[in-house]
């Protein structure tokens, strides 16, 4: 029990008195949470600039231009002289696309024939492309509907019949959960969950590396006294550190889900108890992984170099930015070894989709399994390291 309590105290002292550790385990947790959402503040894409080249100059072509302008996704760009100029503007990224209304646009429609409006849309940004295209298609569709309806009623059909002739059935598409289709809601909650893991991997590794450095510098007697050998002491030390980090990060999780989520406008649709029972195995798995990895860091800065680059791969492996179905099988398996993968999936389902604990039982199982496996590994490495530390000291004593 003394060993356990000393491990808790030592770790707490390291976090709050060592500026390097505090920067990662305290400051970074706040800074990243504040900075990361900022690019997405606007949430949805602004209206995209689209130019209309009207070669027809009739009432009907102007009506189409107005309908395009009125669409919420599109902002009508100032007129361009010709197609070459428009194409150049698209190439240079000043226009999202342009539309050419052909000569005889109105006359063709009045003759009862079909007319084609050519559109050229920049697809470099796939999401922007979809938005601009949807705007154009819907504007043209609205115009079409009006024309058809007029034709049918002119031909003597009752308005209702005419309407049903035009569209035998309706298709309604409805976004679920992220109703405004906000990019912020798509990306930021997941990244916040990841921050809870990454700061631990770096910070705990930094403290472990520093401890290792100090031990190397210490005299034999001090080293022998400070790190008690044996599996029981190793278990107690790991348990002590784990208790401290789960408590510290429990507070952070509370802050993230309780303050930052509402502040950024992200829903928390699951009961707090469900979220708490889900977060516990995540924090355990993350801190166990951090401690197991920490055993390999022999000096203070190694952890940063080893961990910092993993954030972007972890985002893509987590299966929210890029769907699991499009990933090769081995990368799906690889991703499961990171606690963040199951945790992000589960937290999004609980908070955004309003799932209950039973719906995320698979993710919970994965997290407990990872916590168990990394925990066992952390204890073994701690035991091995304490023993090795003494072996290294002994020859020095006889010399």
């Amino acid at each position: 029990m003394k060993t356990w309590w000393r491990a808790v105290r030592e770790e707490a002292r390291a976090v709050f008195t060592d500026a390097g550790a505090a920067l990662v385990l305290v400051a970074a947790v706040f800074v990243y949470a504040v900075v990361y959402p900022t690019p997405y503040v606007a949430g949805v894409l602004q209206r995209l600039p689209v130019a209309v080249i009207d070669l027809d100059h009739t009432a009907m072509s102007r009506q189409l231009t107005r309908m395009i302008d009125a669409h919420q996704f599109i902002e009508l760009a100032p007129p361009v002289p010709d197609q070459a100029a428009a194409e150049r503007a698209v190439r240079e990224g000043r226009l999202a696309g342009y539309v050419v209304i052909p000569v005889d646009f109105e006359r063709t429609i009045l003759r009862g024939e079909r007319t084609r409006v050519a559109a050229l849309v920049d697809a470099t940004y796939v999401l922007a492309y979809r938005q601009a295209l949807a705007g154009l298609l819907e504007a043209a569709g609205t115009l079409s509907a009006g024309i058809e309806l007029r034709r049918a009623t002119a031909a003597g059909a009752a308005p209702a019949v005419a309407a049903s002739l035009r569209e035998p059935f309706h298709v309604v598409t409805r976004p679920l959960f992220n109703a405004t289709e906000s990019y912020a809601t798509y990306i930021v909650p997941a990244v916040l969950v990841l921050i809870l893991q990454q700061t631990q991997l770096v910070g705990v590794g930094l403290i472990a590396g520093t401890r290792r450095e100090r031990e190397r510098e210490r005299t034999m007697a001090a080293a022998g006294l400070l790190t008690r050998p044996g599996p029981a002491a190793a278990l107690l030390r790991v348990a002590g550190r784990t208790a401290f980090y789960v408590l510290l990060y429990g507070v952070y999780a509370l802050l993230y889900f309780g303050v930052i989520f509402p502040f950024e406008g992200f829903a928390v649709r699951s009961p707090a108890a469900d979220l708490a029972w889900f977060t516990l195995p995540y924090l355990l798995a993350a801190t166990m992984l951090a401690q197991a990895l920490g055993a390999f860091f022999t000096d203070r800065e190694t952890a940063m170099f080893a961990i910092v680059w993993t954030s972007l791969p972890a985002v893509f492996l987590a299966g929210f930015a890029w769907p699991r179905e499009a990933m090769p099988a081995w990368t799906v398996v690889l991703g499961q070894f990171l606690p963040s993968t199951a945790a992000i999936d589960g937290v999004l389902r609980l908070t955004q989709l309003g799932a209950r604990l039973g719906d995320v039982s698979r993710q919970i199982t994965v997290l407990w399994a990872l916590a168990g496996a990394y925990g066992a590994l952390a204890v073994l490495l701690e035991w091995w390291r304490a023993g090795r530390g003494r072996d290294q000291v002994r020859p020095a004593a006889s010399a």
Binding site: L45, T124, T173, P175, L176, N178, M304, T331, R349
Partner: protein, 395 residues
């Protein structure tokens, strides 16, 4: 002993670097192993380019020939497959919450009957907008599949009323939009993400390696010796230290471009010299920023923390996950302070859009400034710090 000439000083530092790598082979991790491994991982992840066969559920309350036709049409869409046909909305909603399906297509009861009587029933497509990418694919393809089927039904109805098929054809949708997607016509996410993600990873490693290479001299209290090998010339010391990493990272970056645009056939429509030049400038810019961070913090750990923040979140500000035009001024200004965001603009302009060279001049200038300004700001300071024993060995 006379001071060695500048070039000889550089060569001496280079030999010292190589000897350093021999003694600490772990330092090659940042230089070679991790960049190659993470690059390989991203290529494997995004190679498929466009998600396909995303599972959706059909809730069929009608169980008619027509509702089965809808199911088949959805299943035939490239992006999705109908994984289950259910009789209850509750069940389908549970599947979405658990992640078994990304969308639900609901065909109402009496669908076929209502349609035949001209009552225009409604098919509802609910898609998971939290998983935005699969959601948007399902929205588009479900709509297309339904519209195609609807047009078929409409033509059949019109011909049944005695209109000739050709006239009926022309009558639906009198205004057609002939949309041409330019620059990425296959809507391939791999073609869009890889040219941005790989440089994003590269800049992290270049930045960290530069910080580690210079910072470790302070940390290990070898800065004085390093400067001594260079005959007390800070520029020679830095040039000798960074020459091989620069050549290696620049080579790696060019190999990445060749792999992307020649082997994987990601479109390359613009100027190779501009794209390649921009890529090399990105490497130099990140090294310059790394040197600046060490010079002004005079502390390896602190410099690494700043580098981690600067390079680690750069991707979110690069205009890839969210376009620059959509950002408010604060994040937009921060984005402009990142070499990556200028490089990504340049790469999209040149590779994807085939913009004229003149369109990429602002980015080339910005990247050059990222090389010149940090070096100008930090070289005098670096010289002081390297000579100041109080800055050595700090944690």
């Amino acid at each position: 002993m006379t001071a060695p000439s500048w070039l000889r000083a550089v060569a001496a530092v280079m030999r010292r670097e190589v000897a350093g790598w021999r003694a600490h082979p772990r330092e090659l991790l940042l230089l070679a192993v991790l960049p190659l491994a993470s690059g390989g991982l991203f290529i494997a992840l995004l190679e498929r380019g466009t998600p396909s066969e995303l599972p959706v559920a059909v809730v069929d309350f009608d169980r008619s020939a027509l509702s089965r036709r809808i199911t088949r049409a959805l299943d035939a869409s490239p992006s999705m497959r109908v994984s289950t046909v259910l009789g209850s909305t509750e069940e389908a909603a549970n599947l979405v919450r658990r992640g078994s399906v990304y969308g639900i297509v609901t065909v109402p009861a009496d669908f076929e009957n209502d349609l035949r009587r001209g009552r225009a029933p409604t098919v509802v497509v609910d898609y998971n907008a939290q998983w935005m990418l699969p959601g948007s694919l399902i929205r588009r393809d479900a709509r297309t599949a339904a519209a195609t089927l609807g047009a078929g039904v409409e033509i059949a109805a019109r011909t049944a009323r005695g209109e000739p098929a050709s006239v009926a054809m022309a009558r639906i949708e009198p205004v057609q939009v002939d949309a041409r997607a330019v620059f990425n016509p296959q809507l391939n996410y791999g073609h869009f993400l890889l040219p941005a993600v790989l440089p994003a990873m590269l800049q992290i490693f270049v930045l960290l390696q530069a910080v580690a290479a210079v910072g470790r001299e302070l940390r290990r209290a070898t800065a004085g010796e390093w400067l001594g090998v260079a005959g007390q010339r800070p520029w020679a010391a830095l040039a000798g230290k960074m020459a091989l990493p620069t050549a290696w990272f620049a080579g790696l970056a060019l190999a990445m471009l060749i792999l992307l645009h020649r082997v994987m056939h990601v479109p390359m429509r613009g100027s190779w010299p501009v794209l390649a030049g921009g890529t090399v400038l990105l490497v130099l810019a990140c090294q310059a920023v790394g040197v600046m961070l060490v010079a002004w913090t005079a502390n390896l750990r602190l410099a690494t923390s700043f580098a981690a923040f600067y390079g680690g979140v750069a991707f979110a500000f690069a205009g890839v996950t969210f376009p620059l035009g959509g950002m408010t001024w604060g994040p937009r200004a921060w984005a402009d302070l990142l070499p990556l965001r200028h490089y990504v603009s340049l790469a999209f302009e040149q590779a994807m859009r085939g913009a004229p060279v003149s369109a990429s001049m602002p980015e080339l200038c910005a990247l050059s400034l990222f090389v010149a300004v940090p070096l100008a700001l930090s070289m005098p300071r670096l010289a002081t710090v390297l000579r100041d024993a109080r800055c050595w060995g700090r944690l």
